[in-house]
């Protein structure tokens, strides 16, 4: 904690960055993302086990886009997001300083992309046992039951798009659901519109999701959205040996192929 503050303060004091993205105390017992531009503000900076928001999200928002250089307090999820964003041409290494923090909360200092890659590989994966259990439970259901499970699971969805808004990988200026000629995805939050929306989103994150679980955390109606991506990430790792968020130069699984990809399902 003190180390993080020290690094952050120095970066601002020595004018190495204009902005630091981190956390501060929030309302009630919450923490919240916060932005620091002066060394004296760093006293407000906190980092604890509740700081799970994937603040890499803000790298694509106005505040960070305006800054010429910035630093970010980065747990492994944030680091992986940054690497993935970099691989998708969304963030330049020279603009960003990464203050790395392990899942246990240990500060590992400033990371360049190379060090971030190493760090990312040493850190455990985000999938929680209960998520795995839920995936297996769903996979064990008969077809019709699985379908009904998801239709029901999505039925509280109000299409507030908090899942999209808080996902660092959902940086499209114009989301597919906003494309209206043709209107691929029904906008209405009825059962069909919800199913198509969440399926489309899972497909768009396939091979790119770094499994931070932010979609699930942000969802005001607690839909287990994260397991869609988790399941696909697992599959893609198994089938294609491809994993997002590990390298700053990376082509996601669906933009490459190998001549030996499985085709036992093709007649």
């Amino acid at each position: 904690m003190e180390e993080i503050k020290k690094i952050a303060k120095e970066l601002l004091a020595e004018n190495k960055v204009q902005l630091i993205v981190g956390f501060e105390k929030g309302s009630a017992n919450k923490v919240r993302p916060a932005f620091f531009t002066k060394p004296e503000e760093i006293d407000q900076l906190i980092y604890n086990e509740y700081c799970i928001h994937n603040i890499a999200l803000y790298l694509k928002k106005d505040i960070c886009q305006k800054a010429n250089n910035l630093a970010i307090i980065a747990n492994p999820n944030v680091v992986r997001s940054i690497l993935q964003l970099a691989s998708e041409n969304q963030i330049a290494e020279e603009k960003i300083k990464i203050i790395g923090i392990s899942f246990e909360g240990k500060c590992v200092g400033l990371l360049d992309f190379k060090a971030a890659e190493e760090f990312s590989k040493t850190q455990p994966k985000g999938i929680k046992p209960e998520d795995k259990a839920l995936i297996e439970k769903i996979q064990a259901m008969p077809l019709e039951e699985r379908f009904n499970y998801w239709v029901e699971a999505f039925s509280p969805c109000i299409k507030c798009y908090a899942c999209r808004a808080s996902c660092p990988m959902c940086y499209c200026g114009k989301c597919n659901v906003e494309t209206n000629n043709p209107q691929w995805i029904p906008v209405a939050p009825h059962k069909y519109g919800n199913l198509e929306w969440h399926m489309m989103r899972a497909m768009h994150l396939a091979g790119r999701c770094i499994n931070c679980g932010e979609c699930n955390r942000s969802c005001p109606v607690n839909i287990p959205l994260n397991i869609l991506s988790y399941m696909l990430s697992d599959f893609i790792l198994d089938e294609f040996d491809s994993e997002a968020g590990m390298n700053a130069v990376f082509t996601p699984a669906l933009s490459v192929y190998t001549s030996v990809d499985k085709e036992n399902f093709i007649k």
Partner: protein
């Protein structure tokens, strides 16, 4: 009541399967009339969202077909498509969408006979499965009275 006649949509590439289906015609090989063919330049162009759209539009079964590996007119479109289908099939399975109703195949411009077989076997399979009511119902319940 008359026998259930499935509605099958085939998404095919222009260079192999569409030409293969042309050959089926010139060879006068008969197959089920339940299939409707949609022509694309390449399997690489086929958007997975069109597949769910087809189900929503009343299809009971879908055939997606293109050039065999290494035969792609554009060299690699079918390879990207193959991966996309794998992932799409996985997510469909997981979400309870009936992937028995989606048949992927490679049919070359020389395989007129194979095209007829693919259509006929798909037709038989879908007849056994019956109409895809759960998806049709889901996709129309908020639109049709």
């Amino acid at each position: 009541m008359s026998e259930f006649e499935p509605k099958i949509v085939a998404f095919v590439c222009n260079w192999c399967t569409y030409a293969g289906a042309d050959l089926t015609g010139t060879s006068r090989i008969k197959y089920s009339a339940n299939v409707r063919i949609v022509r694309f330049p390449c399997t690489g162009r086929i958007d997975y969202m069109l597949l769910t759209k087809a189900f929503a539009s009343g299809a009971d079964g879908i055939i997606v077909s293109g050039c065999h590996p290494n035969d792609c007119h554009y060299t690699s479109g079918n390879f990207y498509a193959r991966r996309r289908w794998m992932v799409f099939k996985k997510i469909c399975d997981f979400m309870g969408i009936d992937t028995r109703r989606i048949v992927f195949s490679w049919v070359s411009a020389a395989e007129g006979g194979k095209w007829a077989e693919i259509v006929n076997s798909t037709n038989e399979e879908i007849k056994k499965l019956g109409p895809y009511e759960s998806y049709h119902k889901l996709s129309t319940q908020d639109i049709l009275a």
